[in-house]
C-alpha cells in the first residue's frame, strides 16, 4: 500500500549511501524534497541521473551529500554549466561515472526486466566507453562476422525520487507521457513521489487516463509538496522560474543560502 507522508518523513526514507535515481529537468524534479533532504544532511549518495540532471544534483553536490554521480550530463540547460558539479569534478571530490543517455535508459530497462545486463549499439570508439571499467565489449554471439557490441550491467537504484502533478486516492501517480518515470519506478527498489495534490478519485475509473498512470504498486510513498519542482517547471502546471535559475547558475555554491528557504 502506498503511504501518505509529510515531506520530512518522505525524505527520511532515503538513507546515507543510497543509489538515488532522479529524472531530467523537464520531467518532474522533486526540488522541494531535495532541499529537505540536504537540510537533513544526507551523506554519500550515489546520484543516478536518468539520464541527465541539473540543479537538483548540483544542490546535493554543493551541500556535500554526494559521493558518486552517474549521468549522461549534468547541466542547467540554457543557464549554463552546473557550478558545484563543475567544481567537484575539477577538484576530484566526487566520483564521476560518465555515461550516455541510452546507456542509462538501457541499464534501467534491464533492471526493470530483471536482466543482469543488456547490450547496446553505438559507444564503440567513444572515450565514455573507454573510461567505464564496468562495461564490457563482446562479440555478438549471433553474428558470423566480427561484430563487437557493448554490454551494460543493469542499474538497480535503491530509491527513485520524482515530482508529479497528482496522485489519486489509491496512490496511483499521474505521469502522462513521461514514461521515463515509470521505468525509474519499475527499476528502483523503492519509489518516493512528491505531488502538487492528492485527488479524491481513481485514475483507473476513467479508461482514457489509465495509460498515463503509474500504478500504486510501484509507489511506496507520496508526500504533498506544492510547487515542489520550483524553480524548475512542471508540465501543464507551471513554467521554470528563469530568474531564480539564472541566479542559481550565477551564484554561490551553497544553495542552502539561496534556495533552501525560498519556497
Amino acid at each position: 500500500m502506498t503511504e501518505s507522508l509529510s515531506l520530512p518523513d518522505l525524505v527520511a526514507r532515503i538513507p546515507d549511501g543510497a543509489m538515488l535515481v532522479v529524472p531530467p529537468e523537464y520531467s518532474g524534479v522533486a526540488v522541494a524534497a531535495t532541499r529537505t533532504l540536504l537540510r537533513r544532511g544526507v551523506r554519500g549518495l550515489h546520484v543516478l541521473a536518468a539520464p541527465t540532471s541539473g540543479i537538483q544534483t548540483d544542490m546535493l553536490i554543493a551541500a556535500g551529500c554526494v559521493a558518486t554521480v552517474e549521468a549522461a550530463a549534468i547541466t542547467l540547460g540554457e543557464f549554463g554549466t552546473a557550478p558545484a558539479f563543475n567544481a567537484a569534478v575539477r577538484a576530484g571530490t566526487i566520483r564521476m561515472l560518465d555515461s550516455t543517455c541510452p546507456a542509462i535508459h538501457a541499464a534501467l530497462n534491464a533492471a526493470e526486466k530483471g536482466l543482469p545486463f543488456i547490450p547496446l549499439r553505438g559507444l564503440i570508439g567513444s572515450d565514455v566507453l573507454r573510461h567505464r571499467a564496468d562495461w564490457k565489449v563482446t562479440q555478438n554471439p549471433f553474428a558470423d562476422a566480427p561484430d563487437p557490441i557493448v554490454l551494460l550491467p543493469a542499474l538497480y537504484p535503491d530509491i527513485a525520487l520524482f515530482h508529479a502533478a497528482a496522485a489519486d486516492r489509491e496512490g496511483n501517480v499521474w505521469i502522462g507521457r513521461r514514461r521515463e518515470l515509470a521505468v525509474m519506478a519499475h527499476a528502483a527498489r523503492r519509489t518516493l513521489v512528491t505531488v502538487e495534490r492528492v485527488l479524491d478519485t481513481c485514475f483507473f475509473d476513467r479508461e482514457e487516463l489509465v495509460a498515463g498512470a503509474l500504478p500504486a504498486l510501484y509507489v511506496d510513498a507520496v508526500a504533498i509538496a506544492e510547487r515542489g519542482a520550483w524553480p524548475l517547471g512542471l508540465d501543464e502546471e507551471y513554467a521554470p522560474a528563469a530568474p531564480a535559475l539564472a541566479r542559481y547558475a550565477a551564484g554561490t555554491l551553497f544553495p542552502q543560502n539561496q534556495l533552501a528557504g525560498a519556497a
Partner: protein, 237 residues
C-alpha cells in the same frame, strides 16, 4: 553572424529527409528543420525535443534512442566544445579526464546517436582554433569507425558561424563547401585548427533574400519561440 544564413544552409542540408529530430539547446537547427518541413510541403516529420507541439513521442525519454535504432530518424544534430579534423566531437571537458581544466555538462546521447543516425549535421556557431582543433581532448563520439563496427550513422556536414564543411567519409576529412558572406577561404584557414580539403573555387553560402528572411522570421515566431522564448531577440531574427 547572420542566423538566417545558417538556418537556410542547414535547411538545404536537411533536403528531403523523411524525419528530422533536434536535441537540447538547438534553436538554429530547430528553425532550419521548420524551414525544411515547410519546403517539403509539410510532408517532412520534425521532432523537437523539449517541444510539445513538435514532438509526438509518447514512450518517454528513451523513445528518441529507440526510434533512431529503428532507422526512423534520418537527420539529427550534434555539436562539440571541440570538433577535430576526423569529425570526433568532445562534449565533456578539456585537459586530463580525471582532473579536467574545464568540465562541460557531458556527452548526452552523442556516443549513440552519432553512430546510428544516418545523417548527422554537426553544428557549432563559434569557429576558431579553440573549437576546431587538431585532436579533441576527449572523444565523446568518434567521427568514423572501423569497418567491422556496426555504424549505420555518422556525420555528413559541419556548419559553423563562418562556413559549411562537407564530411568526406572515404577520405576521413572535411572539405570546405562554402564560406558565409564576409568570409574567405583564407579567413577559414586562419580560424580552423584542423586540416581539410579545399576546392580551387570556394563558393559563398547563399544569403537569404528579404522574402526568405520574412519566412524564417515567421517560423521562428510561430514555432521556435515555444521552445526557445529568447531566441528571436538573441539572434536578432
Amino acid at each position: 553572424m547572420d542566423a538566417a544564413v545558417l538556418i537556410d544552409a542547414i535547411a538545404r542540408l536537411i533536403g528531403d529527409a523523411g524525419h528530422v529530430a533536434t536535441g537540447a539547446l538547438s534553436p538554429i537547427p530547430m528553425a532550419a528543420a521548420m524551414l525544411a518541413r515547410r519546403r517539403s510541403g509539410g510532408r517532412m516529420r520534425v521532432t523537437v525535443l523539449g517541444s510539445r507541439r513538435n514532438n509526438r513521442f509518447t514512450d518517454g525519454a528513451q523513445e528518441l534512442f529507440d526510434c533512431a535504432a529503428q532507422g526512423r530518424i534520418d537527420v539529427f544534430f550534434l555539436s562539440g566544445a571541440q570538433i577535430d579534423g576526423e569529425a570526433n566531437i568532445n562534449l565533456l571537458g578539456l585537459g586530463d579526464y580525471a582532473r579536467p581544466k574545464v568540465r562541460f555538462s557531458g556527452s548526452f546521447g552523442a556516443p549513440y546517436l552519432y553512430m546510428l543516425v544516418p545523417r548527422v549535421i554537426l553544428f557549432r556557431i563559434e569557429h576558431d582554433r579553440r573549437a576546431l582543433v587538431p585532436r579533441v581532448d576527449f572523444i565523446s563520439a568518434p567521427g568514423w569507425s572501423e569497418p567491422h563496427v556496426y555504424r549505420p550513422g555518422g556525420p555528413v556536414a559541419l556548419v559553423t558561424g563562418r562556413c559549411v564543411f562537407d564530411w568526406r567519409r572515404d577520405e576521413r576529412r572535411f572539405a570546405l563547401r562554402s564560406v558565409h558572406p564576409g568570409e574567405t577561404a583564407a579567413s577559414i584557414r586562419d580560424a580552423t585548427g584542423f586540416a581539410y580539403a579545399e576546392p580551387d573555387e570556394v563558393p559563398t553560402t547563399p544569403a537569404p533574400d528579404a522574402a526568405l528572411r520574412a519566412e524564417i522570421r515567421d517560423l521562428v515566431r510561430h514555432e521556435v519561440t515555444e521552445v526557445y522564448p529568447r531566441f528571436a531577440e538573441e539572434f536578432a531574427i
